[in-house]
Point group: C2
Amino acid sequence: MEKVNLVQKLSLFNDQYSPKIIGEVNDLYVKVVKLQGEFVWYHHDVEDELFFVVNGALNMAVREDGAEREIMILPGEFIIIPHGLEHRPSADEETHIMLLEPKSTLNTGNVENERTVHELQRI
Amino acid sequence: MEKVNLVQKLSLFNDQYSPKIIGEVNDLYVKVVKLQGEFVWYHHDVEDELFFVVNGALNMAVREDGAEREIMILPGEFIIIPHGLEHRPSADEETHIMLLEPKSTLNTGNVENERTVHELQRI
């Protein structure tokens, strides 16, 4: 059991939209991921998802009550997307994120496409 | 559903060793706490516990295989204490922490004393 440094873990890979596992707390995984550009709209039927920004700026679009809005999340900030909520992460510059979500979570939620990652790497 | 800024949440209170709830991800709470001085030795029978340092320096003493060691955790770093492991947080200067742990977690684990907090405040 050792401590984990987020910036050091993020220095170990370059691929985007490919979450890596860096820890587990009971039924949840702690992951890091690099994002740039626009992801897909998706939701998770049962899993909540926490996005904590380490570097960069995360633009989270959400659909609530038929309306769309965008929330900008900066380093030291997080947002929790409750299950069922349609959302779409995007980032103009490369943005580094720590994710917390149940182990059962698929990165693209209810959608399966070329960005779906089934077997996550541990780093 | 709004974003959460850790430093802003930590500015809302001054009491130490009194975790406040700032979010939930399925069965886990996200909390913030201010620590200074030495806490008690304790463990959790079933819950893992993640300590992420926001400001300051957390000195985590752990007892493994009959030996004691200390791990210094700095801002941007975290440590996950697996269930069953005896540990004792301490901090020379006031240190600000984000905690992730199952909702069932009691802050003093298997020990109940004057530092046990049964009803956590939400901020």
